[in-house]
């Protein structure tokens, strides 16, 4: 199959011309460049709006492996990571360009599945895929997605807008993605605390570090959780962790609501709460103080932590890839926002406050015995690609 035939096989007839036109697309995949009308000439896509742009790259065996992600998941997550960046500006995602470097081991059907997942995410968030680039890669898949979006002129929510005395919030649970990854790797390795006996058996012939053709052994079982009654609940908990890792749900709607209600800063949790909190602290020149007892400890996470004899707080603070939003907002707006989120059925966790510098991030820990509180510094680390 030549390059054009491949692209058609992966992308052809996925989004109708009409659907794309409603998103300002004049010329999509297949020319030197895509062309879009964003001046609002037709239906006011841009009008008095600004454009926001983000790019995110996933490298095989760095960000994913066949042990941890099916091909569909890779495509889905590559776009979702960008959607999350646009959400963190308070924006609405619009146009995507997809660049893939493809090794021989990815035949037409694997790439087709990858695009299945990517288009599934595109449909969910209303994103028009308008172009891209395909090249060969000697050994590993590299997928790079660029996403544009729009935001009301002058309203884009930056990292640098937090002020002292505001509330700090999260728009969803954190740590699940990292725990899901831990679980998937433990299963693939066949050992650790992970997996039922059956799951371990299914993954049993796979050595740690060896890449399975697909992560389906164990995975489907896990999603379905259809063993005995006693195991169903565990299966469901674990499925939630795996889903958080493989199919993140960026907080686009939450970002829009937060922009409307005047939140002062936003960051998406790609590298972990600690790392994102530090970014806001540094960009805004203040201190973020998080309350340990307010951090949203998800049941599935807690349960898996117990099983694996690991402290889930490590995943919550330093795990990353949760793709929820961490942000700040004036305290007098909190009640209003709390109500709106409740009405829309969206999670909203108040986890701390901002204080005058020195710049930093702290965690307030309350002693269970004495009720005394002490502030623990939160390390400025996360998943660092250059560490």
């Amino acid at each position: 199959m030549d390059e054009f035939a491949s692209i058609t096989h992966w992308t052809g007839r996925r989004q109708s011309a009409e659907w794309q036109r409603a998103r300002g697309v004049l010329l999509g995949i297949g020319d030197d460049a895509a062309a879009v009308d964003i001046t609002g000439a037709s239906d006011g896509i841009l009008g008095a709006k600004h454009m926001v742009l983000a790019v995110d790259t996933m490298v095989e065996n760095v960000h994913f492996s066949s042990e941890t992600m099916r091909d569909e998941d890779v495509g889905y997550k590559a776009l979702a990571a960008n959607v999350s960046d646009i959400a963190a500006m308070g924006g609405v995602p619009l146009h995507a360009l997809v660049s893939v470097a493809v090794p021989k081991s990815y035949g037409p059907e694997r790439m087709r599945r990858l695009y299945d997942g990517l288009y599934e995410c595109a449909e969910r968030y209303g994103v028009a895929v308008i172009g891209g680039d395909t090249t060969s890669s000697p050994d590993r898949l590299v997928i790079s997605v660029t996403l544009t979006g729009t935001v009301e002129a002058g309203r884009e929510v930056r990292r640098s807008g937090a002020k002292p005395g505001e509330g700090v919030f999260l728009t969803g649970a954190v740590g699940l993605s990292a725990a899901g990854l831990h679980l998937l790797l433990a299963e693939a390795g066949g050992g650790g605390a992970a997996g039922s006996a059956k799951q371990r058996l299914q993954a049993g012939d796979v050595e740690a570090g060896h890449v399975m053709p697909h992560a389906e052994a164990g995975y489907l079982e896990l999603i379905q959780g259809q063993e005995q009654d006693g195991e169903r609940e565990t299966g469901q908990s674990r499925a939630a962790l795996v889903a958080a890792h493989q199919r993140p749900s960026p907080s686009v709607r939450a970002g829009r609501l937060l922009l409307e209600h005047g939140c002062s800063s936003l960051n998406d949790v790609s590298d972990g709460v600690a790392s994102e909190a530090w970014e806001i602290a540094e960009a805004s020149g203040l201190r973020l103080v998080l309350r340990e007892s307010s951090l949203p400890l998800n049941d599935a996470l807690k349960e898996y932590g117990v099983d694996a004899s690991l402290n889930p707080q490590e995943w919550m603070l330093y795990g990353g890839e949760d793709y929820v939003l961490l942000g700040t907002i004036a305290k007098d707006k909190l009640e209003e926002v709390r109500d709106v989120f409740r009405e829309e059925g969206l999670p909203f966790f108040e986890i701390g406050e901002t204080l005058e510098g020195p710049v930093g991030v702290e965690l307030v820990r309350e002693s269970a015995q004495s009720g005394d509180e002490r502030n623990i510094p939160v390390a400025k680390r996360g998943y660092n690609h250059f560490g």
Copy 2:
């Protein structure tokens, strides 16, 4: 160096805030996404224009190696390839996002040099670098650049606009990049017809296929061409081929002139004249007939072909990465365009014409003896990443 420090080291203080503001940049490198004002609120950047978008990826040891490209060249060319895509729409390049997957072998200084080249290209074409992504890569560098641009609403020049009975043109010489690559590889291998005795000696301890730290051995000598009088000319010719490969000059100005004068189709020569001609033929549903004697045979190319005992036509038709424009225009506009290009000192080669289908590309060859002409089919091939 952590990720932020690295990014600052590579990109910091390269383009002033003022320079970026003049290009509509509201928020550049350092947040979740970049933000731009392209609605023309400030200085009419977009106004009644459309946006065009392209992405291009270069993979180490697929598109380049240390034998053939210095780090600066990699950065320069990664952006230039995209500039060429925007030129092929008749557009003006505007904003770039740069995503790099970086192996350990690329330390801060190598990456800095890569960005030196990238920013050199950005300055040359007025491109604001507004964002990107950095990840680690286990083994090879992958650089993916996304570029936006603007074009007058409804005027973007597509592949599909050619009509029968038009002239076919090129905006520059072709085949030089492929010949330059051949020369660089031959030199790095220390054999072949390439290189003076001294150049061969400089590259002599490098085995074919082995990657040199930099392509500087032989290269600088080549650029300078400062040996004896007899060798100077050869050195200059070869330098032209090497420069064509390492530092392509996309035809942005030519694309703008062609749009103004109503050319009907454009393609940039990234995969070779044959491949690009086939794309126009298929998209427009007609036949492109190129005249062999009109193909611009550059002196440096001719000379190197003789030295290497290779037919330069192979490079001209199937070489690729020349990043000039191939296009079509009504014959009654040719004289006007010819004059404008001459006035501006830009090359313009009329190389054939379009005819009613069947869809295809042919080469008219004239017999030197008899003067008889015959039409040879031009194969639909080029550098195919999936061949």
